[in-house]
Amino acid sequence: MYAFEYFAPKNLQEATKAFNSFNDSKWLAGGMTLIPSMKLRMNAPSALIDLSSIEQLKGISIKNNILSIGAMTIHADVANSLDVINSLPALASLASGIGDPQVRNRGTIGGSIANNDPAADYPSAILGLKSKIITSKKEIDAGNFFNGFFSTSLDTDELIVKINFQIPESAIYLKFANPVSRYAIVGIFLSKYHDEVRVAVTGAASCVFRVNELEEGLFHDFCSSVVDKTDYGITNLNDDIHANSEYRRYLIKVMIKKAISILQKK
């Protein structure tokens, strides 16, 4: 680890001020990716602005069929929240499967989506649900948030305040986990709204993505045979020692069909 300055501001104004007073400062949410990469000397921020003391960024609430989760809410809180379990059980289940207990008690939803690791679980929920990212500067629609490999549309000094999820009729998250890291090799987030079906895939490519052609087909006929019938060309899938692109393409199909059949039984 290289030397760095450390701040723990109490509110957004202080945070932004501290952030902007250094050239190469970084926000610290749960630190589940940033700290290990700093320890490996692969990341060398001049200052860390720790967001864990900003109460405004934490908490879970429901209002008008919108589930709001503060950016600094840890995975364990999402997994155990009765509000989440009752309104959007797929999200609680997703959170309960991230990493291990240590990670779930430090890692945050905001940190996860701001980092946009291609194998992270949360980005699939953002895209697989109708959601909005509320930041310190603006509101970003889910579809405009992820920009590619570890990249988002956030400005460097912009903070995620909370995420608003429109609660679907039903939803499911299914992960095919890497047997070693337990990250997603393929993760499927499938949701049904009265006017739309969404299918988002994480882990398989350089960035989370939606399978639009399939969504259309499933909206008209929610059944797994649609997956075989639809031509949804997916290209540029990841190729690594744990799964090549062909196996990932195969798994996407298998996991989507599995997700559909589970939702059908519900």
Binding site: Y2, A3, R41, F176, P179, V180, S181, H242, A243, E246
Partner: protein, 792 residues
Amino acid sequence: MVFDIKGKFNSKLISSIGKPLERKEDERLLRGEGLFSDDFNLEGQYYVTFVRSPYPHAKIKNIDKSDAEKSPGVIAIFTGEDCLADNLHPIPHSPVPSTKYDLKLTDPEGKDIFIGPQLLLPVDKVRHVGEAVVMVIAKTNFEAQDAAEKVYVDYHELDWTADINSSLKEDSPKVWDEIKDNICVDTIFGNPEKVDKVFNSSKYLFSKEFHIGRVTGVPLEPRSALASYDSTSKRYLLYAGSNGAVRHKFQISKTLNIDPGSLRIICHDVGGNFGTKNRVYVEFPLVLWASKKTDNPIKYTATRSESFLSDVQGRDLLTKVELSMDEDYKFTAFRASNVSNVGARVISLSPLGKGIALVTGPYDIPLASARARAVFTNTVPTNAYRSSGRPEVTFAMERLIEIAAKSLGIDPIKLRRINLINKDDMPYRNALGVTYDSGKYEDNMNKALALSDLDNLSIRKEDASQRGKFLGFGFSNYVESSVGNPKESVELRVDADGFISLIVGTQPTGQGHETSFAQVAADLLGLAPEEIKVVFSDTDIVKKGGGSHSGRSMRHAGTVICLAAEDLIDRGKKLCSLLFDQNYQSISFAREGSFTWSDKKISWFELAEAIEGVELSGDLHTGLNIERENEMHEPVFPNGCAACEVEIDKETFVPKLTKYIAIDDVGRAINPLIVDGQTHGSIATGVGQALFETFYLDKASGQPLTGSLMDYGIPRADQLPSFVTELNEVLSPTNPLGIKSAGEGATTPALAAVINAVVNALEEFDIEHIDMPATSFNIWRSVNNKNKESKS
């Protein structure tokens, strides 16, 4: 007393031997009171970071340390040239196993093997990614790391070779210019001409080539070393974990060119070894040397990344096996050609040699030949890794048997039964001249089969199929060998405070010696295990000893404890005779740990008190303190088998081990609870390689792609079933307690048993073999290729 008239251990003495006592060391370890190498610190210690090679193979053209030397906190920066200038020697690795019974490996001309000298820091070129090149010493760890980044090593990249096949090629890049190619060992054993003859006229002949891939040990505790030099006493002190500090002491002193008596090594608790800590690492002599040069204590602790890059690794054997049978399916001859990837230097040929000796396994095969080769590659050296060499050859034999049985259309269990060595033929000399001491191989198999419920296997397969799984059954027999360093020593000392100290040369790395050694000594001396204090870990106290490897510790320590106990009892009688003016013959030693004559009785500890202050002369001058050494060359052959079931998801092809049965003949189990725990770990080691583990190098760059626990898959509890383990104790005739060994046996058949189950589960696809690790990706690929094949 200790031995009966036949020279065997007197079984009447047994009281705590064979009891599943809980480990004495557990409370200390579970309370966090263990003392591991990195727990030691000396005031004002400096820290070391090593600049390591980023290339598999490169010439070192120049090292510019001028920037780094100006970095804050830097004390000194040393390179290979500095080591040469101070006349530091290469580490005197002794890769060829040293007992009379080991098969003798030679170079291709039948001469001594060129091992590729391991200088402490290289001066000519780097030969693997992660090789230490420059040593940077600073006041803090961070300062050392900062400075290390400012050392500029000018490399000229060279072509490299990482795998066996490419290293064998004539036009392969050469790891060492000192020899004409990369082949450092080439020796033929057995009778190739006769085998050829039998093969040519045999009814059936089967052959197959297997690669048992590269794995690494991943001990929980990375290696660590803390050194200091005392200029007044001119003595060096090193805190460093290993499997036995005594051998390290002698090898390190040779490297440093110093008298071994001037080096003290302290090694308390060791957090896992599996072979990774058997050998001297360059960092150990380097921190000692540098601590003298800087006149300050110096500390080095490897990071997890450094462990992955530079811990010695395991396995990596290419083997081609051929087996002939007559019309009754009786094995008639066997041929193996084994090539071991030793990495950039030969630090151990145990995997190759031990494997070659056992290529025919537990089967009665009248004729065999084996060619043993070793090749250099631009990879980390390989060493003995849990059950060195034996899982590899067991894998080849047990996979070949399955392949043969399938092709013949007969039950593979039946094929094994026809050919297993009969217990009445023990001791059995195998076709390569290796004599198995004892064992009831068919009984092992029967025990496992009785627990396997094969009658209902088809019902379980059907049931699994309904649940969307392919279920497969796998089986493997094994025989392995336990040889190791032939010498062991022990000191027994009766202290008046109510303990007998047992000072022993072998070092535990998690095997529970404090408990099991105490059980043996307690029974022999008529005491309770709590009254025996096992002492190890400090070379100023422990002067001799072979270390823990090759399943040797319990057997060697047990034997020398027997000898020392007899001496100590004799000494006790002589002291009683002297002190109480009695005839030696009239004194007897009673089982409850006391000496008696007429109506008198005195305990060990009362006797120790009684001799305090008494001037003892001649033979008795050491009082109740006995040192004893023993040298024992004869190997023992633990054996057994494994049966398991694997379920593979029909859609994702994820395999899951659902049932595992291990039957092991460890000889006499001194503490069956410890043996059981060892068996569990041993199974996990084997299953790990079968299903999860491989040290993967990028084919284009030679860079490791599994350099962390994010990519290197060691098995976890939720990936393993609850194991069923049973012992089949057949006492070895080679040592008084009848011990064979535990801790490595169960690893030996695990690779084959699991892969046999995976292949069996996929029977409808008619797949002959699946390479390890059998991950869902590998299985899917095999099935997919098969489907493509059948479509075309």
